[in-house]
Symmetry: C2
Subunit: 384 residues, 2 copies
């Protein structure tokens, strides 16, 4: 074991680098980092990503002299599974509730914004009446999905009230019905920028998180589907994890689901459920929609819920539909076709622990060979 090195900022990789000059017995041996690199993190009390941007995680460092021994007794393996995520993965937090019903509202969206808001309100009420404690809406549910429409239907969410009738409605129904809402997405106007934004409301109607689509949908499959969200939209700057009354939820919007790194990062932040409001299309939908959802769930051993608009064959962008709930074994728990539908299904977080016991992937990862770095969480620790 090498002596501890005092460094201003921690992180395994930094130490890997500094250690590179040390003699090694063979090319593939990675020396364990000095103890100063090992951060032990308690399950954060509150780290909602809201518009005030508090630091993402509260971290607790163990004393330098004890952390290595604590690590070796708890981890054991020479393959450094705990280093496969940087910072190390957080323990799965105990959710406030283990079993609950989720409602996925696959809504038909029209050009009439007032109608869309009233229609979504009704669907949320129906889902709540059927017992849903968490309701998820589709991507872009307050108007058509098109670059022409985004500026027209955009709302100033931070100003709220009349400046954002769509989210004002969500806040109100969440409070009245005492449910959590993952509000799909609407075009958001902020200064001179537009975002594709998902708002999460708690049971008191409070805006708990706002996710701006991180990966803009810029694709070109000639003769099939071409779209460039970046013509009008700006990409978000941060992943979004929110603690709710129905567990810790990570948010992604549509194309975000193609980036496996985001789901891995959410899993390492202790997320129980990833919600992806998303409008796949008639080309990528049949090819990849279910595949990607199941892959994110099985690889990260957590729940995945998606919610699409219903299909309108006459729309400029025709959505695939097929909103779905996936369990942590990659199993399709509930799904639908492309018409309007409200899916009500049960989430049982005990399944996460069960599957992670069956297949203990987290303990089997090879941190000596690969590491996924959560850049913002790492930086927030460095500045703690």
């Amino acid at each position: 074991m090498k002596a501890a090195v005092s460094l201003p900022y921690s992180g395994n990789l930094l130490l890997h680098h500094l250690q590179s000059s040390a003699p090694r017995c063979c090319s593939s041996t990675i020396l364990p980092p000095p103890s100063s690199s090992l951060l032990f993190i308690t399950s954060p009390k509150t780290h909602y990503h809201n518009t005030n941007r508090p630091r993402l995680f509260n971290t607790v460092r163990t004393p330098t002299t004890t952390s290595i021994s604590a690590l070796s007794s708890s981890m054991g393996s020479s393959f450094k599974p705990e280093q496969a995520r940087v910072p190390p993965a957080l323990q799965l937090p105990t959710p406030p509730i283990t079993k609950f019903k989720i409602g996925l509202c696959q809504l038909l969206v029209t050009a009439d914004k007032e109608r869309n808001i009233a229609h979504a309100r009704q669907a949320i009420q129906d889902a709540a009446k059927k017992g849903a404690q968490l309701v998820v809406l589709p991507e872009i549910w307050n108007g058509p999905y098109s670059n022409d429409s985004f500026p027209v239907y955009a709302e100033d969410i931070d100003v709220g009230g009349d400046a954002s009738p769509s989210t004002a409605m969500l806040s109100e129904v969440a409070r009245v019905l005492k449910i959590t809402i993952v509000g799909g997405s609407i075009p958001e106007r902020c200064g001179d920028k537009l975002y594709n934004t998902c708002c999460v409301f708690d049971t008191e109607g409070k805006l708990k998180a706002k996710h701006r689509k991180i990966h803009l949908f810029d694709i070109d499959i000639p003769g099939k589907i071409s779209f460039q969200e970046s013509k009008t939209l700006t990409a978000g700057e941060t992943p979004t994890v929110v603690d709710t009354e129905v567990g810790r939820i990570g948010i992604g919007i549509c194309y975000d689901i193609r980036f496996q790194e985001l789901a891995m990062l959410y899993a390492a932040r202790g997320v129980h459920l990833i919600c992806y409001p998303g409008a796949f299309n008639m080309t990528t939908g049949p090819l990849h929609w279910e595949l990607l959802q199941r892959a994110r769930a099985v690889d990260n051993q957590l729940y995945v819920a998606t919610c699409s608009p219903a299909r309108d064959a006459s729309a400029g962008y025709v959505a695939w539909g097929h909103s779905t709930l996936i369990g942590p074994f990659g199993e399709v728990l509930a799904t639908t076709e492309h018409d309007e539908a409200i899916i009500i299904s049960e989430v049982d977080y005990s399944q996460i622990e069960l599957r992670r016991t069956n297949l203990p992937l987290e303990k089997q990862r090879r941190g000596d060979l690969y590491q996924l770095v959560d850049v913002q969480r790492l930086n927030s620790q460095g500045n703690a």
Copy 2:
């Protein structure tokens, strides 16, 4: 732009850390690293991972003063997609051949080793006769898949000849038939250790790479399937990438496929095709076998080929079968049920470029938010 900092070893993360003390305009802004962190890598000439363990990659660093401007003109984005892989992803190399036929030999394996070797030889000859230039065999094809059998059927591959009749046969048929063989796997004895090992032979019969299963199959699904490879086997120490006459191939064995990081790492090393010899079982097979293959292919936009033993319902471990070839859009190009079969199908590497143009994921990744580190490649550069 900050001034370049001279450091003994490079890597974006190191520089992130050193920069953490710099003032930042907001919590999610990541400053660009100084130019010394940017490694530009030429497509390596030869970097076979063979038993002599040469350094994995030859790297070329651009002069410190020019690398930042080169980067900004070539990448453009403020999201640092090139930093989503550390070291930066290699360009996809031009393969020696664009289109060729692959043969997947789903073999019935018995307790009779001599018969298994003769049977595999015949299947390879049949596949070559049908035009296969690359033939893939199943996981553990020279004897039963069980902890009791591994030591009995194990061979000393490094000694070769009579000490390894299974690989001697593979070498001979590869040379005689002038084909590339990804030789499934056999139990390997090396000193007092046993490995689950895949050998790759070139068209001259030369052993080009040896992959020892990195992630041992230790799972426990009560009442369904429990297995602990670690009771008898030792895990391999390194990912395996090999340049062959049919392109750059990454190797994984069975349970290795569950670890998405390995496939991501292979993609960043410029692999065209990942071959996973694997024997999923009657529980995980129907649940996950095709799902995982398709996920690895679509997320990394490359070809995936799997080869399972045929099903023997009377065996101690009953294999799922369903050997499959997947294209870079996650599409099933060829597959089979559980009986013995030789799948012949066409690989067309031009599809990789096509799909990466359709969905330019590599340019859309958010290196400012997440980074996958290839630890050994990074270290090999640090010591270059």
